[in-house]
Symmetry: C2
Subunit: 337 residues, 2 copies
């Protein structure tokens, strides 16, 4: 082993983050203590929610600290184990540093089965984003056969799983995404009933009305802002709105102001529920089992947008806010040995 | 019997309605057909939701028509019955005209027991407003012992029942209302833990923070607007927000714009659910039974603000938007014979 590299939060971003907010530093490779593991990072997951952690603001996860290493969900391989539950060579998923090597408490990571599916899926369809789609749609949205489900950020890691599960439940599925490539993928590859390109649409309300002739029963919201305002105007009585993300707002320096939703919620008896995947931690095994079953049965497709090279992690993260990724954005750091 | 009088929607209001939007017309007393009842109105319920029906706009109840009689919830006495289920003299509650006399289909009304409680309570604590409080708080809010419940419009017909049920469930209860008389009533008569006068408060957020040292677990929203914005900023993880009314906005001619709530819903995994009492129609017997039991046990108090005289109905309705009523606003039209 040689030297370690870590990605540090160099400064807090104003509005849109840039590569200047990150620095890569060399450091010694850490030594695992009793009960710990030394991990070699294989895949890094970059996720929109991490933008919130770059602000110095209370939220559902504590902020990153300037000058300290960034942490997130990674797939790694055990290099040294000081825990009975793990052996050298095991492939694991869990929170660790944006670094070539990290030490973690053994309880922080979970072993994954590399024979079930490519190990990167532990960060996508069989990981946090798949579980987010699964619980947000099924627990909050509760789709019924013949209902209409609209999902924004539809070609993202969460949105594409939401739409496919909704199809499996017999719903009409309408996606909103930001490029013709994504629109084509949703319709032709994933079987969405309709998809709307919000970047080229001259009248998103009219397009939504056409795509949802029976109104909207579930709106799975990944983006917020004016797109969500437009969808909410089409909700049916007893509609459900799982609120998963607001990526259109994460880099805004202003307070997010828009039409208040409460009047509409009363008129149509709408349920709107924000959530984060941690709310469902006790049910992860159920979710992973079902997602894996659909995957091996060929009922669920997934896409990963994999950038090569540890040093490209900040750039891959920044690309999320330009809508560059189709499916889950990952960074490949190394192959397992 | 002599002539009938009816209150007609003379014109649709712009912003705040005035007495000029109503006219009183004389008309013949109608004759009940087979399966109908002729009712003599005893009490008229005036309710904020009726403001919405004065607009020509789709909502959960159809709009009133200009030139036609206004309808709403009334307590009446049967004068003539062409239905086997009712006899002359029965006291009933249900939807009928703002009129001295109405005919209704028998299925539109329900007999009430005048020995259980004053018959006016069928329009207040044992009627729609009591049921609205009961189901909104218990089904959506689900208060747990030791939690903090904030209710706006706290001295209104719904709010005061919400607060008392929350106390029965062991919660800390904070009310928001608009006069010192109301604040005193909430604290001294109903046992609220704290109450805030939004009309005189110089910093409602600071007052709320002081009144809710452990944050807000349930916000029962009757008013909307900036008061609700202030409460929502104090929600705890997994808070619940039954959205019952938005009276501050009912007379606004502008689109109701404010800070979007979705980001906050995600951060704190908040459930926000709009509802109208019709959502719970199948459970009304359960609600009325429980409310009546609390009432006879002396565990639930109620207040009614009763204006005398049919002709004063429009004025009583308009008073709702000035916050004049403590408790349920009713109009007494006649005593039972």
């Amino acid at each position: 082993m040689q030297v370690n590299k870590q990605i540090i939060l160099a400064s807090r971003p104003q509005a849109m983050p840039t590569s200047a907010n990150f620095s890569i530093e060399e450091s010694p490779i850490p030594q695992p203590k009793e009960g710990e593991l030394l991990l070699r990072t294989l895949y890094i997951s970059v996720d929109p929610y991490m933008r919130g952690r770059m602000n110095d603001r209370k939220s559902y996860v504590p902020p990153f600290q300037v000058g300290e290493v960034i942490t997130g969900g990674n797939v790694s391989q055990v290099v040294e184990s000081e825990s009975d539950g793990f052996q050298k060579g095991d492939i694991v998923v869990g929170n660790s540093n944006w670094a070539l090597y990290s030490t973690v408490k053994a309880a922080q990571v979970t072993k994954i089965n590399p024979d079930l599916a490519p190990i990167s899926t532990a960060l996508s369809v069989l990981g946090m984003t798949g579980l987010t789609a699964y619980f947000g749609l099924l627990d909050i949205g509760q789709p019924k056969e013949g209902e209409t489900v609209v999902v924004s950020g539809a070609a993202g890691a969460v949105g594409m799983i939401v739409g496919q599960i909704a199809k499996l439940k017999g719903a009409r599925v309408v996606g909103i995404a930001g490029s013709e490539e994504k629109i084509g993928y949703l319709i032709n590859e994933l079987g969405f009933d309709a998809a709307i390109n919000y970047k080229t649409s001259s009248d998103i309300t009219a397009e939504l009305r056409q795509a949802c002739p029976n109104g909207v029963d579930i709106y799975f919201d990944n983006v917020g802002g004016s797109i969500s305002d437009a969808v909410l105007n089409l909700v049916n009585k007893h509609a459900r709105v799982p609120v998963c993300g607001q990526i259109s707002m994460y880099n805004s320096e202003q307070v997010d102001v828009g039409p208040r939703v409460q009047g509409l919620l009363i008129t149509y008896s709408v349920l709107m529920k924000g959530f984060t995947i941690g709310d469902y931690a006790s049910r992860f095994p159920e979710g992973i089992t079902q997602l894996a079953q659909w995957l091996v049965e060929g009922k669920l497709k997934y896409a990963e947008n994999i950038v090569d090279g540890f040093e490209n992690t900040p750039q891959a993260f920044l690309g999320l806010f330009a809508g560059e990724n189709l499916g889950k954005q990952l960074v490949k750091v190394a192959d397992p040995s």
